[in-house]
């Protein structure tokens, strides 16, 4: 290098210019400064000078490419090859639009768009596409970066699943708890927090939910466990549906099913457990009611069988022939069936006296001809009274149809009733026949009157008075209205021989 003797900067001398050319030739410079008219000095990179940028672009975690004005890809980086599964040679010279599924994204400078990048295995990858203009030499081109969104999407899906799980846990109507392996509660559903004696997270199960060991449920099974061993049991062993009650004023009246199951990670290793407390109070109540109903039904079936047996036996005694027996017995069974239907329809509550009379006398009630009159105040018969009264009225009706007012045209029956007495009200029911054949004493004696007397006396604690007046049978039945202490589940005394 020649040494300059000038003290102020001067334009490069020939030596400088020569040295510059030599330096460029030897490759020890990689950029030159040129004057470009009014724009002033410009830096021009010599060949290879963009190497650091090329390395940066090759190493970057996003896909990158450039394409020319005609859309032909000029360059792709390694990451884009990874994303598409194609080697660079297969991508360069392709049309940019062919990289995408469906229509290519409509690029705008410095705006990111989402698109589906096609892969060589016929799948597609969600990507974010960014584009910006660049110059290569004298021509313009477009620089594009593509960011893989699948990881982002997966993270979003995981976050959504997490939110969903949390929402299930929070909003479940069951009390759900997540326990760490040491037995401490890490998550609690809203319902669990409501049931707990104190905010449950951070406490052990036995601290937050002390069990009522003295209750009559299966809690006794757990009573011999200490609090610590119960917590360990819940955190480590699966078990299902142990009935418990909690030491709590509100929840203590309710029954819960306590269940626990291990919580496993991807490697099937236990990372804690899920404990649920399911409120089964209503279910237990329904079960108890069902058990009671079945027991009562058993009693009632036995009672009816006892009544049927008794009626059969006594009908045989008073029947002269098999034909008579069949006729009388089936009529009485019908009376029982009517009573039973009424009880079933009214759910064993009972029925009005007038409704019972209407049901029993139905075959003889006619819209055209009023043969039966009924008159009296509203009376609700108890379930216990329905069957004996139904049978007594059936006997009276059958007798009237065979021998009395209902056996001829123009015959009438007047049924009336009154309530007597104060708190312990009694019903006095009057049955009067008229217009029938002349009644001869003893015509309807036999099991009919015996049965009426038996059921009214024994089953209703009442009295019977039957008068065979020649102008028509007169019968007065008197019985207390109020249901006596006798339960309908007991066998009627009239059926006990």
């Amino acid at each position: 290098m020649s040494e300059s003797k000038r003290k102020t900067p001067q334009p490069p001398l020939f030596d400088d210019a020569q040295e510059t050319v030599e330096a460029i030739h030897r490759g020890i410079v990689d950029a030159v400064v040129v004057m470009k008219g009014s724009e002033g000095p410009q830096i021009i990179m010599l060949q290879g000078a963009d190497e650091p940028y090329r390395v940066l672009v090759e190493r970057m975690s996003e896909g990158a490419l450039t394409f020319g004005p005609d859309g032909v890809i000029l360059y792709v980086n390694g990451r884009l090859c990874e994303l598409t599964g194609y080697r660079a040679e297969r991508l360069v010279h392709r049309d940019f639009a062919t990289l995408f599924e469906g229509e290519a994204p409509t690029l705008a400078p410095n705006i990111s768009l989402e698109a589906s990048l096609l892969r060589n295995d016929d799948t597609s990858l969600p990507v974010s596409v960014w584009a910006g203009p660049i110059s290569i030499g004298d021509s313009s081109a477009t620089l594009v970066t593509l960011t893989d969104l699948s990881v982002h999407r997966r993270a979003e899906q995981i976050a959504a699943a997490e939110r969903f799980s949390r929402s299930v846990l929070e909003q479940s109507t069951n009390a759900i708890l997540v326990l760490a392996p040491d037995g401490r509660i890490t998550h609690a559903s809203w319902m669990a927090a409501e049931l707990a004696r104190q905010p449950p997270v951070g406490h052990t199960f036995s601290e937050a939910f002390p069990l009522e060991a003295e209750s009559g449920t299966q809690a006794g099974t757990l009573a011999h466990f200490s609090a610590a061993s119960l917590d360990t049991l819940l955190a480590t062993k699966p078990f299902h549906g142990v009935e418990v009650r909690l030491q709590s004023e509100d929840a203590g009246k309710r029954t819960f099913l306590l269940s626990a199951g291990p919580l496993l990670d991807d490697t099937r290793a236990s990372v804690g457990s899920i404990v649920t407390l399911t409120d089964v109070t209503e279910r237990k109540r329904a079960e108890e009611q069902l058990t009671m109903l079945v027991a009562e039904l058993n009693h009632r079936v036995k009672n009816i069988l006892a009544i049927v047996q008794s009626v059969a036996r006594q009908t045989i005694r008073s029947s002269g022939s098999l034909a008579n027996f069949m006729h009388a017995f089936s009529g009485r069974l019908r009376a029982l069936a009517i009573a039973h239907d009424i009880l079933t329809q009214t759910r064993w509550i009972g029925i009005g006296l007038k409704e019972l009379l209407t049901a029993v006398l139905a075959p003889h009630l006619s819209a055209e001809e009023e043969r039966v009159t009924m008159e009296g105040p509203p009376v609700l018969l108890s379930a216990r009274a329905v069957m004996p009264l139904s049978m007594a009225l059936h006997e009276l009706t059958t007798n009237a149809a065979k021998y009395g007012a209902l056996s001829v045209r123009g015959g009438r029956i007047d049924v009336s009733w009154t309530l007597t007495g104060g708190e312990d009200q009694s019903v006095e029911l009057s049955w009067r026949e008229r217009g029938g054949p002349k009644v001869e004493r003893g015509t309807s004696s036999g099991f009919g009157t015996v049965l009426i007397d038996r059921v009214i006396t024994y089953d209703l604690d009442g009295t019977t008075k039957i008068d065979f007046d020649p102008s028509g049978v007169r019968c007065t039945l008197t019985f207390p209205l109020r249901d006596q202490a006798k339960s309908p589940v007991n066998t009627p005394r009239s059926a006990i021989d």
Binding site: M1, K5, P12, A31, P41, I43, A49
Partner: protein, 94 residues
């Protein structure tokens, strides 16, 4: 630099081109070996402001300018030839 025999050096580079990066490294090494405590370096990136090239009429990059001691001297290239740099900057080997 006010010290009488101090060296004030200005290196013109163009971003992170290989020769620019090499020149920075070589200059630092030479100064530490031969001008310990007697130099000041200023690196000018012409990629950021090409107009700065006019002050010393830079043509090729990298170029090193010895501003002090006078007279002004210029060395073009990546400063990989040690002997040439020492001669060019008029540094006597220590």
């Amino acid at each position: 630099m006010t010290e009488k025999d101090g060296y004030n050096l200005r290196l013109y580079v163009a971003g992170q081109t290989p020769r620019s990066v090499a020149a920075i490294a070589n200059l630092k090494k030479i100064c530490e070996q031969h001008l310990v405590g007697r130099y000041e370096i200023e690196v000018v990136d012409l990629m950021k402001d090409p107009a700065l090239a006019q002050r010393h009429q830079i043509v090729a990059i990298p170029t090193l300018i010895r501003q002090l001691p006078e007279p002004l001297k210029r060395i073009i290239g990546d400063l990989s030839n040690l002997e040439k740099v020492l001669v060019g900057l008029d540094i006597r080997p220590t």
